[in-house]
Structures are given as structure tokens and as C-alpha cells.
């Protein structure tokens, strides 16, 4: 149960990073281009690829343990 709670916090943090870093805030105001797109658009495309990989891992391994109702842990609070 404790392990699951820890995992839940961990995945909340990972989710937060996936959201926050989808915009390259550190490139703010820098006029960079590569080919037909601004660099921040390229970055965003790459980041969405990473998001997909993380989502795939989550779906395979943690989807039910963290979200399924009925095994008594879903309403642990």
C-alpha cells in the first residue's frame, strides 16, 4: 500500500514534468530557426515523442495498479 502511494506521488511528479517541459521556457525570446519551423516547434514535436514513450510505459505497467477501482486500494483515503 505504501509502495503504491509512493508510486502515485512519483507519477504525479512525472506528469507535472511532462506538462511543464512541453514548452521550452528556456528558449523564451530567442529567435532560432531550423528549416521551415522555429526551433521551439521542433523541440515541442520531440517532447511529444517522449511523452508518448512515457505514456506507453505507464499504460503497460501502472495503469491498473494506480487506477483500478475494486481491489480496495482505489478509495484508500
Amino acid at each position: 500500500m505504501n509502495g503504491l502511494r509512493l508510486r502515485r506521488v512519483l507519477w504525479l511528479l512525472i506528469g507535472g514534468v511532462l506538462i511543464a517541459a512541453a514548452v521550452p521556457w528556456w528558449l523564451w525570446g530567442a529567435p532560432l530557426r531550423w528549416g521551415p519551423l522555429p526551433v521551439y516547434v521542433w523541440y515541442h514535436i520531440g517532447w511529444m515523442g517522449i511523452v508518448t514513450l512515457v505514456f506507453a510505459h505507464f499504460a503497460r505497467r501502472w495503469w491498473e495498479p494506480l487506477g483500478a477501482i475494486g481491489d480496495g486500494e482505489a478509495d484508500a483515503d
Binding site: 523564451w28 530567442a30 528549416g35 516547434v41 511529444m48 495503469w63 491498473e64
Partner: protein
């Protein structure tokens, strides 16, 4: 002009034919009609959710914005739809799906009302949802009107396009249920993706290659290359992404799709490919606006950028194909909206108000008349054109977003009190409406009803307020059902 109109009209008739085909395999039970028997597989679920999200707001509002202000909107939409919405789909949608499958729920109001033991709450959620659906349906009609004006160079007036989509969506909802909507959404999603990428090819060729297109961007619109600037402040980008993502989850047409997956594998696969779908469509669609600006295309007032840019670089028939695709995408939002709105109206309002005197009223009939009245009223509103597509969409999203956190708390926290949720919804809706309709008033050092506080959208403060009221109200409510009772109802 006739060719263009024939292409648009032909495409719409094709989707209507699909609706009729779906009608033949749908019986009139609520789960069959509104939820396609909870039987959608991955491809259809992804495309129907996707196409439903792709309203006039995304398809016409987005490129208009990137044309004027730069392609940062791609990032806002990516955060909002690609990541945040996908996560909410898991957090809220997976839970709803499980409860819906077990208890047979068709609407979120029904789920909450039953879960927290309050018919008032059920009705309140339905009323608020239907109210915010109104400006959003209006937005589709405005988008269609502007698209037809853009396509025909003003040959067909605005109201004809707006009225056309109104009639079409009423007809569609009357014949096809969720299954028909989902099937046509799949067709429309694929067509959409196809035409937008072909359109990118056309504009690249017209500019003389990818490098040349980039050079134009650098030369003509250097501000677009730097992240931020103009309307794009961090507060605005974050505020918009958060309110829209949370708002979308409570949109009837999106929230109801949380119930329709056939199994958990479908949900997982949809979740994983979601961010890729968002990139595949939004990057080209929104770059279109930015590239159009770089190529110096002029866009007449009140028309849309996609049509103007394409008209400058592509033959008329191709412009018509793209506009037909876009109209179809808007249609798949609109018919889903009306269908879900009808289910809220008949199940959460009409059916719960039933007394002996009304016993013989036919729910399906009431639903259809309701849809017609609602769509025609929205058409009336669309003739007044009370704002830009982005402004109207944003207002509706923010209104829905006020509902999301109280609902989310209720889904996860067994102590949640129905009365606390009701108070939270009523208070936040009133505060939100006050901000939309009243002019700012300065009280002492503070400006009340201002559009932003410390640079952040008022909708965010409303969301926070809703969560706090729900939380404190539940702790304070002695009548909140005990955890033991809730355990019984959940497990």
C-alpha cells in the same frame, strides 16, 4: 464557385449517408443511442474523440491566431490537448468508464447524482453543461458562415453557411446516434489529416521548398521565430492551456466519450497514441497560419486564414476539399454536442422531473424538439457575431472548467458532500459569469471583475475556488454520507 459548393455539399451528403447506415444497427435504447453500446474500439474511439475536439475553434480559430500572433499556439494546444487532456482522460475518464460500465451510467450528472445521492446535483450539472454548450454551438455556426464566405469570396452570404450547418446538425442528430457520429468522425478525422498534409505540400511547393519557406518566415515575420511576445505571455499560455484542458473534460460531447470504450486495452492504446495525433494534426494546421503570414497573404476581415492562404497558392477545387474537410470536422463536433446535450436534457432533466402528469411524454421526441430549439436559438446568436472564435470558445471552455475540480474531487474522495459540490458549482458559475459580463470595478486597491489578477486568467481563480469550497464544505457538512456507505456504493 459551383464546383466548390458541389464538393462541400457532396461531402456532407456522404457523411449523412453514413449516419443513416449507423441508424440501421442502432436500437433506440439509451446506451445504444447515446453510447453505441459501450462498444467502440481504439481506432474509432481515438478518431471520434479527436474529431469532436476539432471544432471551429481549433480549425479556424487556431490558424487565425497563429497568422496574427505566431505559431506559439501549437505549444499551447500541445500542452493542453496532447498532455494535460490525455492525463485527465486517465484520471477522470478511466474512473468514469469503470463506474459507468458497472452501474450503467450514461451521463456524468447521473453518475454524480447517484454516487453522492442528490438529484439536485444531477440537474445542476446538466443545466450548467447545456448552458455553456450554447456559445460553443454558436461558435461552430459562426465558423461555418465564415468558411463559406471565404470559400466563395463573399458570393454566398455568412448567414447561409451558418444556417446550413444548423440544419445539417439537427438532421444528423435526429437520425444517427453515437454510433453514426463515431463512424463519420473516423472518416472525417482521416480526411482531415490527409488534406492538411497535402495542403502543407502545396504551400511548401508554392514557397519554393522547405528552406525557402523558413527564410520567408525569418524575413517577413522574425517575431514568430522567438518564443513568446505579443499575446503570448507565460501566464496567458499556461492559463489558456489549463482552463481549456480542464474545460474540455466536462464538455458533454467529450465527457460522454469517457464511457464508450469497449475495454481497458482500448483506453490504454488511445492514451498512448494521443500525443502523436495531436502533433500530426496541430503542427501543420497551425503552421499554416504562420506560413501564410510569412508569405504575405492578405486575409479579408471576417473570413478565415486557411481559406485565404490556400486560395493564394492552390486551385479552387482543392481549397474546396480542405474547407469541406474543415466543415466536416466542425460538424462532427456539432452533432456530438447536440447528441450529448440531448442526453443530458432528456435523462438528467426531463426524466428526473417526471410525474404522473408527464408520464406519457416520449423522451426521444422531447430530446429532438429540444435539439431543434437549442440549435436554432444558437443560430440566432451566431448572427450577432458577439466576438472572435477564440474569445467565444475561451469563454465556454472557462465556464466548463469551473465544474471540473469539484467533480474530480467527488470521483476520488469518499467524504465529498453533494451540498458542498452544489454550492461550489453555483458560486463559481456566478463569479465566472460576473467576470464575463460585468465591467471591472475598483474597490480600494483591488480591481474586481478584472479579466486577470496578477496576470493570471480569472477562470483559474474560479477553478481554485471551486476546489476549496468543495473540500471545506464537505468537511463541514454533517450530512455527508459516511465512508462506510460510500464504500458499499463504490465497491
Amino acid at each position: 464557385m459551383l464546383t466548390e459548393l458541389a464538393i462541400v455539399g457532396g461531402y456532407l451528403l456522404l457523411t449523412l449517408a453514413i449516419g443513416v447506415a449507423a441508424f440501421r444497427v442502432t436500437d433506440r435504447g439509451a446506451v445504444s443511442y447515446y453510447l453505441a453500446d459501450r462498444s467502440l474500439g481504439t481506432v474509432v474511439l481515438v478518431f471520434t474523440t479527436f474529431a469532436t475536439l476539432l471544432s471551429a475553434f481549433t480549425f479556424f480559430g487556431g490558424p487565425n491566431l497563429t497568422f496574427a500572433a505566431g505559431p506559439e499556439w501549437i505549444l499551447v494546444m500541445g500542452v493542453m490537448d496532447g498532455v494535460l487532456f490525455a492525463i485527465l482522460w486517465y484520471v477522470m475518464g478511466y474512473r468514469q468508464w469503470q463506474l459507468g460500465k458497472r452501474e450503467g451510467y450514461v451521463t456524468i450528472g447521473e453518475l454524480l447524482g447517484d454516487h453522492l445521492g442528490s438529484v439536485t446535483l444531477r440537474r445542476l450539472i446538466a443545466v450548467a453543461s447545456i448552458a455553456w454548450l450554447f456559445p460553443y454551438v454558436m461558435l461552430q455556426q459562426m465558423g461555418a458562415g465564415e468558411a463559406i464566405v471565404g470559400l466563395t469570396g463573399g458570393g454566398v452570404p455568412y448567414w447561409v453557411g451558418a444556417f446550413g450547418i444548423t440544419v445539417f446538425m439537427i438532421a444528423y442528430v435526429a437520425v444517427a446516434g453515437m454510433r453514426g457520429v463515431a463512424w463519420t468522425d473516423t472518416l472525417q478525422g482521416i480526411v482531415m489529416l490527409g488534406v492538411i498534409w497535402i495542403a502543407v505540400g502545396v504551400i511548401v511547393q508554392a514557397a519554393g521548398g522547405l528552406g525557402a519557406l523558413g527564410s520567408e518566415l525569418q524575413l517577413e515575420t522574425p517575431g514568430f521565430l522567438a518564443l513568446g511576445g505579443g499575446v503570448y505571455t507565460p501566464q496567458w499560455m499556461i492559463g489558456t492551456a489549463v482552463t481549456i484542458a480542464f474545460g474540455v473534460t466536462m464538455f458533454p460531447q467529450i465527457n460522454q466519450r469517457f464511457f464508450v470504450a469497449q475495454d481497458v486495452g482500448t483506453l490504454k492504446r488511445s492514451f498512448v497514441i494521443w500525443p502523436l495525433m495531436v502533433v500530426l494534426l496541430f503542427v501543420p494546421a497551425f503552421m499554416f497560419g504562420a506560413w501564410g503570414a510569412a508569405l504575405g497573404v492578405t486575409v479579408p476581415e471576417g473570413t478565415n486564414v486557411v481559406a485565404a492562404v490556400l486560395s493564394a497558392v492552390a486551385p479552387g477545387w482543392f481549397v474546396a476539399v480542405v474547407i469541406a474537410g474543415a466543415l466536416a470536422a466542425m460538424m462532427s463536433s456539432s452533432d456530438s454536442m447536440l447528441l450529448s446535450g440531448a442526453s443530458y436534457f432528456t435523462r438528467d432533466l426531463v426524466a428526473t422531473a417526471r410525474t404522473d402528469a408527464f408520464e406519457r411524454i416520449d423522451e426521444a421526441w422531447v430530446g429532438r424538439v429540444g435539439v431543434m430549439v437549442f440549435a436554432l436559438a444558437a443560430f440566432g446568436g451566431s448572427l450577432l457575431r458577439p466576438g472572435t472564435l477564440i474569445t467565444i470558445g475561451d469563454t465556454a471552455f472557462g465556464g466548463f472548467a469551473q465544474l471540473t475540480l469539484p467533480v474530480l474531487i467527488a470521483l476520488y474522495w469518499p467524504r465529498t458532500s453533494a451540498r458542498a459540490v452544489i454550492v461550489a458549482v453555483v458560486v463559481t458559475q456566478l463569479v465566472y459569469l460576473g467576470h464575463v459580463f460585468l465591467d471591472p470595478v475598483t474597490v480600494g486597491a483591488v480591481s474586481v471583475f478584472a479579466p486577470t489578477y496578477l496576470g493570471w486568467d480569472f477562470a483559474l481563480y474560479g477553478m481554485l475556488m471551486g476546489a476549496i469550497i468543495t473540500f471545506i464544505g464537505s468537511l463541514a457538512d454533517p450530512a455527508a454520507r459516511s465512508v462506510d456507505q460510500r464504500e458499499r456504493s463504490v465497491h
